[in-house]
Amino acid sequence: MKQESLIKIENVWKKYDMGSEEPLVVLKEINLDIKSQEFIAITGPSGSGKSTMVNIVGALDKPSWGSVCLNNQNISEMSESSLAFLRGKTIGFIFQQFNLLPNLTALQNVMLPMEISDEPEYIAKKRAKELLESLGLGERLNHKPNQLSGGQQQRVAIARALSNDPQVILADEPTGNLDSTTGKFVMDFLGRLHSQGKTIILITHDIELVKYAKRIIHIKDGRIEKETTNTKWRN
């Protein structure tokens, strides 16, 4: 079955100007086609450019060269406010550092993306509660991030990423700061989201976690070194 590509990365380069020194090229000639409802893992050594690539896909960063299309729209040609809209509605980020807003409660953190996209408060509240409850945090709605364990914080972050029901979940080492049990919970949850139809892009250098994905992209020194397919994939 030939599917429309959801994300199409063509000849993307990213370089940082380092003043007098040689510019630092961290992504080189990246080409990648991601179909809707795929589960992709991106792996590679530290500093190889994984986060940089995913940030570009998630419209948090811009490529120095090349184009990134999301739903056939070129990200580099979009206005700032449409990019913001894209980040809020189409993409859900899950970070290694959780990145919750420290002065908001769990509930408020999850409600925020919905409120940013002008969802009525009562709807946002209802959905945020449901999400947090489905992640086992029904008792922690009014806790601030610093009153939550790492695993709980990451679950709040997942709920937040899901709040606007995005097409794509970008997870940059979501289990990096969690113990193996909580890490497994998070990974299983991502697997469940995938089976519900979400496209998932996971960065990890944990070989154990790679098995959740069907396609595995290996990055080294800013280049896609190889792509493998998970033969033992559950489907």
């Binding site: 948090l60 960063d61 002065n103």
Partner: protein, 420 residues
């Protein structure tokens, strides 16, 4: 993002702000307090000034002997009638001829002059119900003209009129307080040992008015024919300055004075005086206001500083906000509201402190005497001033926060997220 949400987030930042923000707020509190108290005190002083000068009557000029060297000190207006009130601002430094009946005639012949009245004042001991006031100032007025030219108003009884001889009109303060016992109409008071019937009480002041012939007969230190002052009622107030210079020229001529600098009399124009006083007042207000404005600017710089630090501290949070879909403009609005809020809270504190400050200055002035009492015993804190101060402080906060807020909005999401 809805404005309401932006505001909630700005409020959230404010509520969780550090001690530093509160210190910044103190800066604004002081600045706004200074502005509010200065404006309210000078507004109050201006009102007082207008009331007092207004009671002089703009259509009555006063001619006194001596050369007036400087303006100022003319706040005794409420105290006496024409002669006394305006005369008090004049210092007779040059040896000068008294004002005479001839001067009165000369003034009468000046265009735009409606009525002219010569007046004398001298001192006498006054007694009532066993109590004596020594060396009180008593005015002798022309009973046929006085009621038409005076700027005082009658509280009870009547003005002096033709046929009055040993009759007296007294100011309200005399009637009320001076003798320990209230003086009423038709009571008798002793002036220089002579018994006078009280026929009228003026609405204010503490002066005594008696017919001029009687005054010449009983008062010490008054001449036989001369006057201490001449009141001139003019027809058209709009050309009062012209009339003043006409009178001056004529009098100089008739008194044989050739040069302006040798002038031995003064024609005072309440209108002009009022203008001068007002100008002085507004210069003073401007000066004090400038000082207050400087303290506000210092406060605003404090806000800007705090906002820069705050944006820096919140870099990561700004990155997070952007990652979940916040537009640059919303980030900007949130931080602008935040700094506006700092300004506004400072403004509220400043208004409260300013009102306290100005009212304590009022009560200080109230217990003091003279000019300070006259001018600073009432401040005018009105709703416009309060609302204006609050708006102003909020706008100052926003202006001070504008650049930091702009910076926050322009942060690159990835860099912001990576910031620790």
């Amino acid at each position: 993002m809805k404005f309401k949400k932006c505001f909630q987030l700005a409020l959230n930042i404010f509520i969780h702000s550090k001690l530093r923000s509160w210190l910044t707020i103190i800066g604004i509190v002081i600045g706004i307090a200074a502005v509010v108290s200065i404006i309210s005190i000078s507004l109050g002083a201006q009102q007082q000034l207008e009331e007092r000068l207004g009671s002089l009557g703009a259509d009555v000029l006063t001619v006194t002997k001596g050369m007036q060297r400087a303006m100022g000190g003319g706040f005794g207006g409420g105290e006496g009638g024409p002669g006394e009130g305006r005369g008090s601002s004049i210092s007779s430094t040059t040896e000068s001829k008294n004002l005479t009946a001839r001067d009165v005639t000369v003034i009468k012949a000046t265009p735009n002059v409606k009525l002219v009245m010569g007046q004398i004042s001298g001192t006498a001991d006054i007694a009532y119900s066993g109590k004596t006031v020594k060396d009180a100032k008593v005015n002798g007025v022309d009973i046929s003209i006085w009621k038409d030219i005076t700027t005082d108003t009658i509280d009870s009884g009547r003005f002096l009129t033709k046929g009055d001889s040993y009759s007296v009109v007294i100011g309200k303060n005399v009637a009320g307080t001076v003798f320990g016992k209230e003086v009423s109409l038709n009571n008798k008071i002793l002036i220089a040992g002579k018994s006078f019937n009280v026929v009228g009480i003026l609405e204010e002041g503490s002066s005594y008015y008696i017919p001029i012939d009687i005054a010449r007969a009983i008062l010490e230190d008054v001449g036989e024919k001369d006057f201490n002052s001449i009141s001139v009622k003019i027809a058209d107030v709009d050309i009062s300055n012209q009339t003043v210079s006409d009178i001056t020229k004529k009098l100089m001529l008739s008194r044989g004075i050739l040069q302006e600098k040798n002038k031995d009399f003064t024609v005072s124009n309440p209108e002009a005086m009022q203008e001068t006083m007002k100008e002085t007042m507004s210069t003073m207000t401007l000066f004090l206001g400038a000082i207050a404005a400087i303290s506000l600017i210092v406060g605003a710089i404090g806000i800007a500083n705090t906002m820069f630090t705050s944006v820096l501290e919140k870099t990561k949070e700004i990155g997070i906000m952007k990652a979940i879909g916040t537009r640059n403009i919303d980030i900007m609005i949130i931080f602008l509201l935040n700094s506006g809020l700092i300004g506004l809270i400072g403004g509220i504190g400043g208004v409260i402190l300013g009102i306290i400050a100005s009212s304590s200055i009022n009560s200080l002035a109230g217990t003091s005497s003279g000019m300070a009492r006259g001018m600073f015993s009432s401040s005018a804190v009105n709703i416009q001033l309060i609302v204006g101060a609050l708006l102003f402080s909020m706008i100052i906060g926003m202006i001070a926060g504008a650049i930091p807020a702009y910076r926050a909005s322009k942060l690159n999401p990835v860099d912001a997220l990576r910031y620790e």
